[in-house]
Amino acid sequence: MQRDAMIAATGLTKQFADFTAVDHISVRVERGESFGFLGPNGAGKTSTMRMIGCISERDAGQLTVLGMDPANEGAAIRARLGVVPQEDTLDLDLTVADNIVIYGRYFGLDRAQTKKRADELLDFVQLADRSNDRVDVLSGGMRRRLMIARALVNQPELILLDEPTTGLDPQARHLVWERLYRLKRDGATLVLTTHYMDEAQQLCDRLVIMDEGRIVAEGSPRSLIDQHSTRDVVELRFIDEHEQQLAVSRLENIGQRREVLAGRVLIYSNNGDADVERLSAVGLHPESLLVRRSTLEDVFLKLTGRSLDE
């Protein structure tokens, strides 16, 4: 194992009673990389993150984080991590700034220095003007940004983000993405889980797609799409199930591959516009029609037969 790997896991497994949450996965994250676990709810992403974050013991396999074994150096590893869990864990009885200061104390940081650091961090997440407010008046997006600021108090070498924008409105998500993008640009190592393919596509240099505790694909967003999907996708919607069934029987020679889902048909195509013309040529007039580029969602659909939000 090279010394440089931030995370190295082989055969990593987590078992809960008779349920295997994480089933022999192997991943490796290098310094400075932005790495993602993409998958639907229940794929084992959070369990994996908890093992990496040294708050959950593995049941089998090997794991090193920052070159150390969580089984016996958990506290030393956690001292160098920045963790943003899925659900907010802010102290509503404290002010915005005090949430960071008190958290810093858990890392043994000096109070006066941490106060200064809190100001910088709040500036970074654009909450400087809310510094003395109580947390319970903050919006969901602001709380998320405070969670991120708080996780940076110990100047972590590795930042773990579990579903960083779940539950946020689009504008709040973009603000969070933009801050994470800044961190990434400044050389931070980010590891995040998400079930949003756009999030994975925007933030991850490299990712694994997880399903039912296993890794089903690995690569950069671009290479995964190139490898598992076509350039374009034509999405068709028909007036009802019956119309859709009729249409499907006439689509057979259009595009490389077709997916028939509830309420829509996807045509995987290397040239979407040309295939749209072929649709009218065979006399098909769907109620709505959309040509778009392939996304990680299509990769997931191809590999598992299900869509990400199912």
Partner: protein, 256 residues
């Protein structure tokens, strides 16, 4: 030297407390005034009319240390059930702690220490009010403060460990009415346990509150003796046994 991780948890709680302690001070003072007024003097006057004293003490002197220990137990119970559920489930603040170098056992130990300290603060105010009302005849009364804090520690250690095993707070009310209230009434708080039927007397001896009451009473009445170390040992024993349990339940809850 770096403070122990559990003390970080205490520091956190103290920091929160700093912002609202003024609001609680009034209750801290009012509570002993009401109890000592109603029971010590109101009921006490009746008792004095009928039989003079209890165990050779004016009733208010007898009941004050009992109420002091019982108040510590009540404070500990209140701080160890719902707030633990808030930390593990409702607000999840404990989950933030264990993502740092702090371990679940430190969260447990820290919250128990803090709850005991807070009960100790309540005991200081209680003692001051009781002394002002003439219910504390001995200077040894100051020993009642750590005694009350130790009583609180015993309850905090057990109840926090238990609270971390629960998914909802449904059973907390049951604990309050089936465990805490009977202990409150029957642990020698309001009358000597010798008044209880034989079976219940034995029960009183296993009640941590009874040991706390005996310690506080020996302190405020100035009758502390070596034998009272037995009470200290029992209460400390409860804390230590519960710590084994709490270390496990907190780990299961916060780091499954």
């Amino acid at each position: 030297m770096a403070a122990s991780p559990a003390l970080r948890v205490v520091e956190h709680q103290a920091y929160v407390f700093k912002s609202f302690w003024r609001g609680t001070l009034f209750a801290y003072v009012l509570n002993p005034l009401l109890y000592l007024g109603a029971l010590g003097f109101g009921l006490g006057a009746l008792i004095t009319q009928n039989q003079g004293d209890v165990n050779g003490l004016p009733y208010v002197v007898f009941v004050a240390p009992g109420l002091m220990a019982a108040a510590a137990m009540m404070a500990a119970a209140g701080d160890s059930l719902w707030p633990i559920m808030a930390g593990t489930k409702w607000l999840r603040v404990f989950h933030a702690m264990v993502a740092t170098p702090i371990a679940p056992r430190d969260v447990y130990t820290g919250t128990v220490i803090w709850t005991s300290l807070r009960a100790g603060m309540g005991a200081i105010v209680f003692l001051a009010v009781a002394a002002a009302l003439g219910a504390v005849p001995s200077m040894w009364g100051v020993v009642a403060v750590p005694s009350a804090a130790l009583t609180a520690a015993a309850f905090a250690a057990v109840l926090s460990a238990y609270a971390a095993t629960q998914e909802t707070d449904l059973r907390f009310r049951v604990i309050m009415s089936l465990v805490i209230m009977p202990l409150f009434l029957l642990s020698g708080t309001f009358f000597p346990v010798s008044q209880l039927p034989d079976g219940l007397q034995t029960l009183a001896w296993v009640s941590p509150l009874w040991h706390g009451v005996e310690l506080c009473r020996a302190s405020t009445t100035g009758t502390l003796a070596l034998i009272d170390l037995v009470h200290v040992a029992v209460l400390a024993g409860v804390v230590l046994c519960a710590r084994f349990w709490g270390t496990r339940t907190f780990a299961q809850k916060l780091a499954p």
